[in-house]
């Protein structure tokens, strides 16, 4: 406002002083320093103007000597007004957000989005701020086509499984490389990251952008840029949020008190209480108890009625405080932030706290030298629960304890229940706590060598210090089961230290030649080294339950340390060329050497090439009113995957002890030919913007072929080994991605937009060594050529025989049998844990300061093996524990058409428990209000806003019982951790309701 007023005043002055004329020349470039051709120049207060040429240069003659200001505008950029002083004007335009001119952060530099020959999605700060998650990964769900996000589980602070354009690997890592401010980081570092510090996240999916990361890029790259200070814009911002989380509702119910007791009697099972009654009254069988007596026994047990969900779960409060200060001068930029994030788990014994800060500083010391640093320190404290398949896990307990079993015995002690363990007691007496300290830093210096040549050196480090303490207090129930009565109590301390450093040096050259030719070149080297050390100490014999350091224990029963390191040495380069902002070409190459591979295979070469054509800049479209932007792009290239263990190529012997003396034994079969997994990604697509960019979107298609797959090839166990890591097999991922945004109403006070994205993807194994299948036996899946990864391999259920009540099964050749045999297991063609499609729909309505927005996330085409549902419908085998209300529907007499067989028959794991994963979820709904600025201005506040939001409030699942977003099956039982393969009582998904405010000073 001030600026406009000033402009007007100046303009009036200028008009009055009209006298002589002159020629103004100038150059228009973008924020990346590249020329902007076709920009419109207008001299204010006159009719004079011009257009920039291919080099971004312009010239306007006959400008009055006293002309005050020049306006420069171009599609996709913010309009700039500059003072018309002197004869040469250098103008830098800032791009409008989310347009083609967005700056995409790519490896070792930035590119304008239109120069990127791929479909890069940029997720901006506004989409990440104030979302009620501890980890930014969960915030990305539904935000980008081609990026599949599945929460690992609902544990506070937990990450998500990220998959960029399908599953890129079978055995090696399948998660994208995450790069924060140029620094590839570990999971710990991004757990430590405060999501509110993120300026934006560029999701690099195509070879042309990702391939510069060579051996680490085959699963895509997420480039995170943290916030930087802005020139002349000092700002202090405070955000507060408070809310409550709870378990998402089940779409089924358990038997209640009366139902369960009736069910047990029908099945002839006498629980502890009934058995005691029978003993007292001389009944041999539960069926001998007369109905009336049974009724009064139930009434007597009424006081024991327990709602285990209510007893073991809680409304979990979370509170976030966030303060940031940013600002800058001509030469210095500073951003500083602090966060306090506190979240209770939905079960007692589960908590997450993160406290940390960030300091980003840069300073231009001279015209030719700039240096800066990004520093982050963070501390996370967690209280943890067992993620195990028994009642030591409260999320097993809620589905296991019977509704007639009390929490406590009449004498006040914990009731151990039929399971022999009270989880309430275990949580109180067996605390498990973890503490993680993270430091992530980058220091850089940048030299301008010549006009167009820059040299940059970057040194970055990542430090993690993790400690965990698990104390089984003396006198606790678990100690009686597992401990030594003479040395009660058991304490484990374990942890690790990890230090990773990276040094990269790059030369960057950009030059625009006459006639609209622009060339960019990059060359660099990089060296990365990581060291890791861990320890474990365990002792027994603790004199009190209040003291638990290792030094006071009676006996040390376990101790050990471990150590590893790896290195990566790289050379890389990139060439870019564009002509007139219309035609773009680029290519990159990288050579990586890794310590993880055998001597002859240490180095690998990776390359990529791409092109894009901005059709809307062509003459025939440049004046179009309705076709504002049209761009075609395509690229192809290779990348690798070295995400495996450290010394896998070596044939080794390890050491240990027997009866207190040294031993040795074979550890690894070794493989001297071990090398990279190689991916070849080809993709093409189109960006469009129609009707004054009210309808915008991108359509892209990709195909990724991964070869030399790193697989644990099963060996005959008679060799003494189960498997050996080898490069065998090929995998293909194909897909189509589409996203679109429509501004339906766009007025000053009222706006309504609808957007969405959808991804269709398929993977299949195209080759395995010798054309074999590789079973993943524990989870009932297989790797089979021509089939999706992890195709289910199970015995097929044929329902219930209405005459006999026996469960029926299909044999391998499709006959029906009433005997179960694992040899009947059949490949369930096309059924795998990977979704075939996923996406989101979002809408936002804004009226003045009031915004209502909602987002739905959907996913489907996948199958999940639902073990909890099997356990809850297991007839006689599980009559002693809680059961689903559905279990009451069982066969009783010939002719019954019941869902469940006669309960006396063992319930087997068949495809009966394999359920479709299709679901849609109300991911987020937010109502926010920005207070009209004159109010906060009165108290020297720039802006004040309030919001209330609901996350995961509702889901609808087609077939699946329970929350259908299944990531990790079980933390402790899972050996092969393919996301969504099966559910096994891991931490449940949560929903939340919260409110907050944001104040800017």
């Amino acid at each position: 406002m001030k600026k406009t007023l000033l402009t007007l005043v100046m303009l009036m002055v200028a008009v009055q002083l009209w006298a002589q004329v002159r020629t103004i020349r100038g150059k228009v470039s973008d924020d990346a320093g590249l020329p902007v051709p076709g920009a419109t120049i207008k001299v204010q207060g006159t009719d004079l103007g011009g257009v920039t040429n291919l080099d971004g240069e312009f010239q306007i003659a006959n400008v009055p000597q006293d002309a005050g200001f020049v306006e420069i505008s171009s599609v996709g950029y913010n309009k700039e007004t500059v003072a018309a002083t002197g004869n040469f004007i250098n103008v830098r335009l800032n791009p409008l957000s989310q347009s083609l001119q967005d700056v995409v952060v790519v490896g070792y530099g930035t590119q304008r989005r239109e120069a990127v020959s791929g479909s890069t999605t940029i997720v901006g700060a506004e989409e990440l701020e104030n979302k009620p998650f501890g980890s930014f990964q969960n915030m990305l769900q539904g935000k980008a086509p081609g990026l599949q996000v599945t929460a690992i589980n609902g544990r506070p602070g937990q990450n998500a499984y990220l998959r960029v354009r399908g599953v890129g690997s079978l055995n090696a890592g399948a998660s994208p490389l995450i790069v924060i401010d140029g620094q590839p980081v570990s999971e710990d570092a991004y757990n430590a990251l405060n999501p509110n510090d993120i300026e934006n996240i560029s999701i690099l999916k195509d070879a042309s952008t990702a391939s510069i990361y060579g051996s680490r890029a085959s699963n895509g790259v997420l480039m995170i840029t943290t916030k930087k200070g802005k020139r002349d814009k000092a700002q202090l911002s405070y955000t507060f949020q408070h809310g409550v989380k709870s378990k998402t509702q089940d779409n089924f119910r358990l038997m209640n008190f009366d139902e369960k007791l009736r069910y047990e009697r029908n099945l002839g099972y006498a629980n502890e209480y009934v058995q005691a009654y029978m003993d007292d009254n001389g009944y041999a069988s539960i069926h001998d108890i007369p109905d009336a007596e049974m009724q009064s026994l139930r009434s007597a047990m009424n006081s024991q009625k327990t709602d285990w969900f209510r007893e073991l779960l809680r409304p979990a409060k979370f509170t976030i405080h966030d303060v940031s200060i940013s600002g800058g001068t001509d030469r210095t930029r500073v951003f500083f932030s602090l966060q306090d994030y506190k979240e209770e788990g939905i079960s007692f014994g589960s908590d997450f706290t993160r406290r940390g800060g960030r300091l980003n500083v840069s300073h231009e010391f001279t015209d030719w030298f700039e240096a800066g640093t990004n520093l982050m320190m963070s501390n996370r404290k967690e209280s943890l629960l067992r993620d195990i398949y028994n009642v030591q896990n409260p999320f097993v307990a809620i589905y296991t304890y019977n509704p007639y079993e009390p929490v406590r015995n009449p004498d006040g002690s914990y009731n151990l229940t039929h399971q022999g363990l009270s989880i309430s007691e275990a949580i109180a007496n067996n605390p498990e706590k973890a503490n993680t300290l993270n430091g992530v830093s980058t220091f850089y210096g940048q030299l301008k060598l010549f006009r167009d040549l820059k040299f940059r050196t970057e040194f970055s480090t990542e430090y993690t210090d993790y400690t965990r303490e698990y104390f089984i207090k003396p006198g606790s129930v678990l100690d009686f089961y597992t401990g030594n009565p003479e040395k009660p109590g058991n304490k484990t301390d374990n942890g690790f230290y990890r230090f990773n450093y990276r040094w990269s040096n790059t030369l960057n050259y950009t030059k625009t030649f006459g006639g609209g030719h622009t060339i960019g070149a990059l060359a660099g080297t990089e060296y990365t080294q990581e060291e890791f050390k861990s320890y474990t100490i365990r002792s027994i014999g603790y004199p009190t339950e209040n003291n638990n350091t290792q030094n006071i224990a009676a006996e040390n029963t376990n101790f050990g340390t471990a150590k590893y390191d790896w290195t990566l040495a790289s050379f890389f380069g990139r060439l870019e060329y564009n002509y007139g902002g219309k035609y773009y070409l680029n290519g990159s190459i990288r050579r990586d050497g890794s310590s993880r591979f055998a001597i002859n295979n240490k180095y690998g070469n990776f390359y990529a090439g791409g092109a894009s054509w901005v059709i809307s800049r062509e003459g025939f479209l440049s004046g179009s009113r309705n076709v504002n932007m049209l761009r075609l792009f395509a690229s192809t290239g290779t990348s690798g995957n070295f995400d495996i263990g450290n010394y896998e190529h070596l044939t080794t012997f390890g050491f240990g002890r027997y009866n207190g003396l040294s031993i040795s034994y074979p550890v690894r079969p070794g493989n001297p030919n071990l090398t990279w997994e190689k991916s070849m990604m080809t993709s093409a697509g189109i960006d469009f913007g129609f009707f004054q960019n009210r309808l915008t979107g991108t359509l892209a298609a990709f195909q990724k072929n991964t070869s030399a797959l790193l697989l644990d090839r099963p060996l005959s166990s008679t060799t003494g080994f189960q498997s050996r890591l080898e490069n065998v097999g090929e995998l293909q991922n194909r897909g189509i991605e589409f996203n679109m945004n429509v501004d339906i109403i766009r007025t000053r006070d009222f706006n309504w937009s609808v957007g969405g994205n959808i991804t269709f993807q398929r993977n299949k194994i195209t080759e395995l060594y010798g054309g074999d299948t590789i079973p993943q036996d524990a989870a009932g899946t297989q790797w089979v050529v021509g089939q999706p990864v992890n195709t289910y391999f199970l015995v097929r259920s044929a329902g219930v025989d209405p005459q006999t009540g026996r469960p029926l099964y299909y044999t391998k050749d499709g006959q029906i049998s009433d005997e179960f045999s694992t040899t009947y297991a059949t490949l369930l063609t096309g059924k795998s844990p990977d979704p075939r499609y996923f996406g989101s729909i979002n809408t936002a309505v804004t009226y003045k300061g009031l915004t209502l927005s909602g987002e739905f996330f959907f996913s489907g085409g996948n199958y999940i093996l639902n073990y909890p549902w099997r356990d809850l419908n297991s007839g006689m085998d599980a009559v002693y524990m809680a059961q689903a209300a559905d279990a009451m529907n069982y066969w009783t007499k010939p002719g019954d058409n019941a869902k469940n067989p006669d309960p006396q028959y063992t319930v087997q794991t068949t495809d009966r428990w394999l359920q479709k994963g299709d679901f849609i979820r109300l991911r987020n709904i937010t109502l926010s209000y920005v207070v009209p600025s004159y109010l906060p201005n009165k108290i020297r506040m720039q802006q004040l806003s309030f919001f209330v939001q609901g996350q995961n409030l509702f889901y609808w699942a087609k077939e699946y019982k329970g929350d259908p977003e299944v990531g990790l099956g079980s933390g402790e039982e899972d050996t092969y951790k393919a996301p969504g393969m099966y559910a096994l009582y891991s931490y449940p998904q949560v929903r939340s309701i919260s409110f907050g405010l944001n104040a800017t000073f």
């Binding site: 030719w368 028994n390 151990l416 030299l447 060598l449 040299f455 050196t457 129930v477 009686f480 089961y481 597992t482 401990g483 030594n484 009565p485 003479e486 040094w503 040096n505 080297t525 027994i540 006996e555 029963t557 376990n558 050990g560 471990a562 590893y564 290195t567 040495a569 310590s595 450290n646 010394y647 070596l650 080794t652 012997f653 390890g654 050491f655 240990g656 027997y658 009866n659 207190g660 040294s662 031993i663 040795s664 074979p666 550890v667 690894r668 079969p669 099963p714 060996l715 005959s716 166990s717 008679t718 060799t719 003494g720 080994f721 189960q722 079973p775 036996d777 694992t822 040899t823 006396q904």
Partner: protein, 494 residues
Amino acid sequence: MRSYTFHGVLAAAILLLGLPACRKALDKVPYDQVPQEYAFNTEQDFTNALRGLYNRMIITGNSTATFAANNYLGGEDAFAWASSPDILADNVVIVSTGRRSQQAFFQWTYSANTTTETWRDGYQVIRLANSILENTDNLEDSETEFRSNAEGEALAVRGMAHFDLLRVYAKPVSGPQAAGGSDPGVPYVTTTDVEAMPGRHTVRDVYERVVADLEKAENLIAANNGHGRLSKAAVSGLLSRVFLYGGEWQKAKNAADRALAVNNDVGAFNLFPAIWRDETESGVLFKVIITTIDRVRIGVGYNQPGPTGIRNEYAPDYNFYQSYDDGDVRKQTYFLTNDFQGFSYNSIVKYPGKTGGVASVNDMKYLRVAEVLLNRAEAHHRLGMDAEALTDLNALRSERYESYLPGMETGQNLLDAILDERRKELAYEGHRFFDLKRLGLPVQRSGSGDRSDGAGTAPLPQYLNLSAGDHRFQLPIPQYEINANRSIIQNTGY
């Protein structure tokens, strides 16, 4: 312009310094392992590997972090040598208040996915034995004695492990249900080739190879390798077991003679309880030593101590429990009657933990003098030498019963008495199922309940009998092996 030149030189210098040209930086070796070529050079290396054989019998995984119980002799809840062969047979009844671990074994409902670990872990031991045997040529500068003992110990372990896998996965070598000439046994592995995909040798073939390895071992191995390792007498004792299973009575007798000539101490009446707390070596020919640090709780399959008393998984079959005489030291040693959640149970306390140690952590007593004596008694009887058989049997009984009067059985009664004593003596040590199988007998459980008075929950009728010759006497070959190794065929019935 001068400054630019300076910058250029500076940049070039840094770039060169930063060049990751150093090849050595890419060569990394593990901190806790050595490449195989460094594993078998000195006598100490071989001694370590020999001791490793026993460690591998109870532990799998390659560091304390990935430690797990080995399901060959160190099994806990999956197939466990100390409990599964008894759970499969008629010595126990499942307890309704337990965790129902090993339920598939009790109910004979195991599948090809239930029995993976025993196979895998058995062959893991065999691999190490073969690694030692393939490298003994490195010992050319060594004393002959050292080398022959090393070879003897490795051969003995190789034979022993193959024999046990044969007992689990194949038909019996002899007896009414004996394997036919072409019935498959298990692959007899004598190489360390990781690409090998051996087929199943016939039962007879495996038996003969076991005998050959053990006989060779008996000649090579030292008379005393110390506690927790195989020595000559143990190998002789092992041979008496193998020959008994093979129905070669004379050889069984001869092997037992050789073992008992060295050690005929069956564990005296007064010392007997101390054997199970690992306080004495009395009566033990070979055991695998398990320490607190190993954390292998081999007895956990029967029960765990709890705050409200011992929580049983399996209690002794009521009739079997009743068959022990009150004056039998084994009754007091093997069993304890205690209350749990208001009811009285007989608990199997053969693995109570060492004195002052963790519950259920005990040495795995793999071969005891008592067994060798019983092997010989049975062999004597089969050879028509009833007098000698009775002498052997009485020698054992006199150390088990308070105020014992020598028995006078003959003929079938004598055989019954030998087998009855064998069941009582070796109960809960991993013998019963294999003995029934060897003798071609069915499993017949009494059908009593799980409590100390025989009341309480009894097994369902379908879990009471396994008829002689049922295919489930042969456990299924792991599906993992069949998938990985096309040469392997599954046992019939699975």
